[in-house]
Point group: C2
Chain length 487, copies 2
């Protein structure tokens, strides 16, 4: 352990020297040095407390003592690979299975969401004998090369636009606020799933064969998108008809976060069961671990390839002890119930902001998975990207950590530790209210259908019409583009 | 933590039910249930002690108290991602850098050797703008899909032989015992590196462009292969001439294991510096962590793609605290020196076995990276695969854990925790001596150039001539093939 306590500037200098420049810090112009954390609070080197609204990894709360104790005790005893028998591995697999439909009974333990999603693809390829993968627009599934290929959120960042692989098909994100079919559509679930059906037809015409459809049960980096009920059932029917499987990526949204259910995919109804589920981030409260769960049939097909699967660290006794402790804490502290209650409260409070603030275009969420989409114009849905960044920066000044994401980075993204309280929710909403009021005042924005006077010119305006002049958001990069919080 | 202590059969049953059948245990017919470990010893559920000769992950010894303490203390304080500043990250990067040539100064922290090697490929692809990868025959670089593609050790296991990707070129393993150019060749380093040169020419003829040559500094799963001195320098010259980079995979062999040097690639001489080094297994003594280190130039090129690199768990304060503790223990206990001294002693003792046992074809090693290749015939080099498995099984009965690997699984592979002692080395060599004596007696094998009598027929024989009749090795699979220890 580093016993040194470096001057913050020294930490920054060493980071510039020795850490890959592609690895960005939050708030690059004035990054935060965090030295301890507890529950939903983080503390910087000066002892200043920050409210954490974004860390879905510290799932049961930062440094939860039960989790730390389980890890320490197991580390003292044994940490070795899964070529030896160990109870933690099998008991943990059994406990995880009990949270899932019976069909999903076989586990592979790995180290990260990326390893999990890559393995899910390998399972799908082997089981189906097909290659093509359907992914959603704006999706992010991980940082290894196979997942960059199926993550438009990532490959759209590339200066080289040729990255798109032929076997990857991008379906529209089932976003009923900003997407192709919106809330006013009579049946967006069918409309969006028909897009997948049509992609399959076109792939078939070109000789492609569908191995898998992969999607987060609720799209996270993609903008906190909540698919319309029934969407996955219909997609699954088309995909299975084509011989493919459905992979539900629960890396960001699983483990009770959605409040009413343990897994995000369960929001779609009991009649939807994926063929493969991947889980990660919250699974070990920060410990590097993750899991793929699938059916016996898929697992048998994977074995029949003749290739063993061995993961050096995956399913080690320490990881499994930690995983068990996380499940225990979730249960003992009724954190899923807390997500349902406090998350519901948070969403209701945010919903009220929509009545007061023209910038708030949409509020959507389940439990502690909530998005607030900011727009400059509720008709055109012009993304209020710079304003969202302004909210994030202002909140940081008030020691509240929130982030903005989505393809336009205009969606405030709530995914706090599961011990987040009513008071925390009320505090952050109140602060957002004040910050939005300031921004709107500076921008001279008013609620829709109000006539306002601007520079002596009286006319009914769309919100965005006057933004170039009035726009006062301060945080900008060198090219005058709004800078991103992740810099 | 699982407080249960399940009956061993129950553990086996649950494992069959809930763990992917591609995930194999050691000694499948009678697997070992390990419940604690300390130093170089592991203990089963009955308290029986096993000497661990194979675990290169428990690098500074199982459950080392300094490492456990560093982990526990940091977990109590903080475990979060690298978007916040933290001293552990930068201090650890600085400490790692100090073990490497100056040119290798920029770190990316990830969670497994697989994540590290995948990222190394991404760095190479981005830096060079090329796609083709040269890998060695029998190489293993990891379990994610991009690495299966460049791991003949894995893709040769596939029943579907079509797996070989066009952009992947397989060069001969620089194995001077069994390979294309052997110890009697006047210049095997040049001969093997010329093979790489020729591969590059052929790739160019087909329009391919070389992004990277990747190799373990000493091939591990590939059969404990020690490349001839100067090989990597010559390969690097050809590869760089073609615009590619050289990736040294130190996942299995790094961190002082080779005794005389901290990194395996340093065995080739100070005039060889890879462009990218990947490290893993021993780095955290069992904690899931790994690292990629490269030059400023490669790192800048990666950033210029426009794509961020974020790894949820990579470089978290707990992982870095553990990494620092491992480096401290290595230094405080002079474990690299121990590898040099005891590893040398082990290799000398094993060398003496070669004088006594016809089955011992070759003994090779550096420090605690040692291979003993068993052959039925020292001229034909017929792999003594079943005999190697017999040794492993017999050792297990004597509570010594060793494994056999290589393309023919006939290479006894030593890679013990770095605290392995002289007495441990003497014990295991003595036991191998006795087991080999028994096997050779049963097979009626003698040292070369001895005339022996077999079933009344007097003739000078090659060792393998009479094996079909006499072969008594017991452990066989259903198809009468010698079974593998990893089953």
């Amino acid at each position: 352990m580093a016993t040194e306590c470096l001057d913050k500037q020294k930490t920054i200098d060493l980071r510039k020297k020795h850490i890959g420049p592609s690895c960005k810090v939050f708030f690059s112009h004035d990054p935060i040095k965090i030295i301890r954390a507890k529950g939903q609070y983080m503390y910087d080197e000066k002892g200043e407390r920050y409210l954490d609204c974004i860390n879905n990894v510290a799932h049961v709360g930062h440094s939860h003592p039960d989790v730390v104790r389980a890890a320490s005790q197991q580390m003292e005893l044994l940490n070795t690979n899964s070529r030896f028998l160990h109870d933690n591995l099998v008991v943990y697999a059994q406990r995880l299975q009990a949270t899932l439909p019976d069909k999903l009974s076989v586990c592979y333990f790995v180290n990260s969401g990326s390893e999990a999603n890559d393995l899910a693809l390998r399972l799908a390829w082997q089981y189906t004998g097909h290659k093509d993968v359907i992914t959603l627009n704006n999706a992010y599934h991980g940082h290894v090369s196979s997942l960059i290929d199926i993550s438009p959120y990532k490959f759209h960042q590339l200066s080289d636009a040729e990255h798109h692989k032929q076997f990857v098909h991008v379906a529209p994100s089932p976003d009923i606020y900003r997407g192709k079919y919106r809330a006013d559509h009579p049946d967006p679930a069918t409309a969006y799933s028909d897009e997948v059906r049509d992609i399959i037809s076109r792939a078939h015409e070109r000789g492609g064969k569908i191995a898998a459809f992969i999607a987060e049960s609720l799209q996270s980096c993609g903008g906190q998108v909540i698919p319309p009920a029934g969407y996955f059932q219909k997609v699954a029917a088309h995909v299975r008809q084509a011989g493919g499987v459905v992979i539900a990526d629960e890396v960001q949204v699983g483990f009770g976060r959605v409040g009413s259910h343990f897994w995000g995919f369960q929001l779609q109804g009991a009649d939807f069961v994926p063929d493969i589920v991947t889980m990660g981030k919250p699974i070990g409260n920060g410990h590097p671990m993750s899991c793929v769960v699938t059916s016996r049939e898929v697992a048998q097909a994977f074995m029949s390839s003749g290739m063993e699967y061995f993961n050096t660290f995956g399913g080690n006794p320490v990881s499994c002890a930690i995983g068990l402790a996380v499940l225990d804490v979730l249960q003992n502290e009724d954190l899923q119930g807390n997500a349902l209650r406090v998350g519901g409260h948070l969403t209701r409070l945010l919903g009220k902001l929509k009545e007061k603030h023209p910038l708030v275009g949409d509020v959507r969420g389940h439990g502690f998975f909530v998005g607030v989409e900011l727009v400059r114009d509720r008709v055109k849905l012009t993304p209020a990207t710079a304003e969202a960044q302004e909210v994030i920066y202002k909140l940081k000044e008030e020691h509240i950590l929130l982030s903005a994401d989505g393809p336009h980075r205009n969606v405030l993204k709530f995914k706090p530790p599961m011990c987040f309280s009513r008071e925390d929710a009320e505090l952050v909403v109140e602060r957002i209210h004040l910050i939005l009021s300031d921004i709107e005042k500076a921008l001279n924005m008013h609620m829709p259908d109000q006539v306002h006077f601007d520079r002596g010119c009286k006319r009914k305006v769309s919100f965005s019409d006057n933004l170039p002049e009035c726009h006062s958001v301060r945080h900008r990069g060198a090219g005058n583009e709004p800078i991103r919080v992740y810099n």
